[in-house]
Amino acid sequence: MTNEVILQVKDLRTYFTVDEGLVKAVDGVSFDLHKGETLGIVGESGSGKSVTNLSIINLIPMPPGKIAGGQVLFHGKDLLTLPQAEIRQIRGNKISMIFQDPMTSLNPFLKVSTQMIETIVLHQKLDKDAAKQKAIEMLKLAGIPAPEKRIDQYPHQFSGGMRQRVMIAMSLSCNPEILIADEPTSALDVTIQAQILEIMQELTKRLGTAVILITHSLGVVAGMCDTLCVMYAGRIVERGPTDVIFENPKHPYTQGLIRSVPRLDMENSQRLYSIQGQPPNVIDLPDCCPFYPRCEKAMDICKKKYPTTANFEQGRAVSCWLYSGAKDE
């Protein structure tokens, strides 16, 4: 990991208009991604993790979605204002994605070879035979046995874990600078999860690809990520180096999340901690701290205003009134 920033997300806001009102799925998210870095984004379902990343490559369905503000700077170019033709040259090429459900993310009507070759031919300007060789090589790297045979099969002839390997091979086939992995293991068996993460980590390290890993599993984050962003109700509530956050979580939500992870050294009789309450309904959310109804340290000010961000050493940032000097008011 070097210090060169390749992707800068600045105050990104993605809203959806639904019948019930305005959903601020992503509301002012900012982070930097460095070359070769692995950045984890954790949060509950509906916290805006996936929408953040679909916004980065401008794949939000519009309407009902709308990018209401912010910038996504990739080598200084704002991806949000780039013309379609130009962003298409970045998608799948410089920035590629792996999705959650490998069972539905591959086209069931097309052979794996067709789906892999079309990406390689499109971005690498290789002819079909060379592209096929490249695809076979990628499948081999992703740990698929007998890739020269399997490449001509259809997705339904692969198991879930194998399909995710195909997705990984496909998404890395153009040596992208950034790989966005949206819950790549959530739909897989636990035993397969570890293998897939290992392969992903190994390949991205080898290719020097930066990774944005979206997950709701803190275990995955702890094992893989250099930096961590914790999202809640469309905003990043805490950000910093993974090991530092795990050691000393500052935001009450992060503290709650870490306490909710089962531990091997726990007594059998001990109840597993869980954060009380439900994630908020994000439709027409008022400008308070959305976590205050569930927060054990809630104060009066939390109901009135969203906290400002407090910065700490090592690039840590926390959005909570506990650190924003609310006591002064």
């Binding site: 379609q84 298409r88 970045i90 799948g92 539905t104 009507f109 097309l110 079309e118 496909m170």
Partner: protein, 309 residues
């Protein structure tokens, strides 16, 4: 695969047998008979008539005799059109209906799929609303209204097309246009709605998102990734649609004076023309089961997830 096709083809035989048996007895049990609306004939004449058509025999024996005839491809004499056999009647009218139906269905397919794709891609915009209102109109207005309206406007007012007749007449192939247009209308509307709905579903699927995330152009995404899955439901609809449309339409044939099988079918039922009804039912079922069979096979080629063993 070939094993599956053979087995599937053989299974058509019992299906057809059941259809023949059921319809034979259903027709016989309907009240009235082929000679019941004749002017009064003497008992002796009636007896002779019944004897001529073997209707004095017990029903079981008649059934076996009929089955034997059908196996030899002979549907027997028509009870009503005394100088024609059922085979002649069908072979005179069915090809006309098939010609008209095939043209109408091709038009409906082409227009329906195009409109379906456009509406799906322009969902909730004016193109979509226009196309879908048109489709609702197509489904809800009966053919006996659409037909005469087309005749009135395109035939009588603008004088572009002949209002009736058949290809053997002076106007030739032009006579096909209006009836085919009329007949295709409800099929067009249905296909448009069907393809719109299923393309919309595919557009929202994960694999289309993957295709877009790979940087493919919208044209490739639609043409290569969306259409194949999106049009499968249309393929399964083709079986019943084809057999329905080529076996004629009483309304269109009456409105445009077309010598098709639809009118013969309805007349035969009203006349209790036993052999003619049976002949038509058998032809219709044969076309239907064959078409479904063909669609099944085609489906297997289109959808790699289906394997025939």
């Amino acid at each position: 695969m070939s094993k599956y096709i053979i087995r599937r083809a053989l299974s058509l035989i019992p299906t057809m047998f059941i259809i023949v048996t059921l319809s034979f007895f259903l027709v016989r049990f309907a009240p009235g008979g082929p000679f019941s609306s004749e002017k009064k004939v003497t008992e002796q004449v009636l007896q002779n008539l019944l004897k001529k058509y073997h209707m004095d025999e017990p029903l079981g024996k008649q059934y076996l005799r009929y089955l034997g005839d059908v196996l030899r491809g002979d549907f027997g004499p028509s009870f009503r059109y005394r100088d024609s056999t059922v085979n002649q009647l069908i072979s005179q009218t069915l090809p006309n209906s098939m010609l008209l139906g095939s043209i109408a269905l091709s038009m409906a397919l082409f227009a329906g799929i195009s409109v379906g794709i456009i509406s799906a891609l322009k969902q909730n915009r004016w193109q979509d609303y226009l196309a879908m209102s048109f489709a609702v109109v197509g489904i809800s207005i009966p053919l006996f209204v659409i037909g005469p309206i087309l005749q009135l406007i395109l035939g009588l007012k603008l004088r572009w097309l002949p209002i009736s007749g058949w290809i053997t007449s002076r106007d030739g192939l032009k006579t096909l246009i209006l009836p085919a247009l009329t007949l295709s209308f409800p099929y067009f509307a249905y296909i448009a709605r069907l393809s719109r709905a299923s393309i919309l579903e595919v557009l929202r699927s994960d694999y289309v998102r993957t295709a877009r995330a790979k940087g493919l152009s919208e044209r490739v995404v639609i043409g290569k990734h969306v259409l194949k899955g999106g049009l499968l439901p249309v393929v399964s609809y083709l079986g019943p649609a084809f057999s329905g449309i080529i076996t004629g339409s009483l309304v269109v044939e009456s409105v445009f004076a077309i010598p098709g099988i639809g009118r013969v079918f309805v007349q035969s039922a009203l006349n209790r023309d036993y052999t003619l009804i049976m002949g038509e039912v058998i032809m219709y079922s044969l076309i239907l089961v064959t078409m479904n069979f063909v669609v099944d096979i085609v489906y297997g080629f289109l959808d790699p997830r289906i394997s025939y063993k």
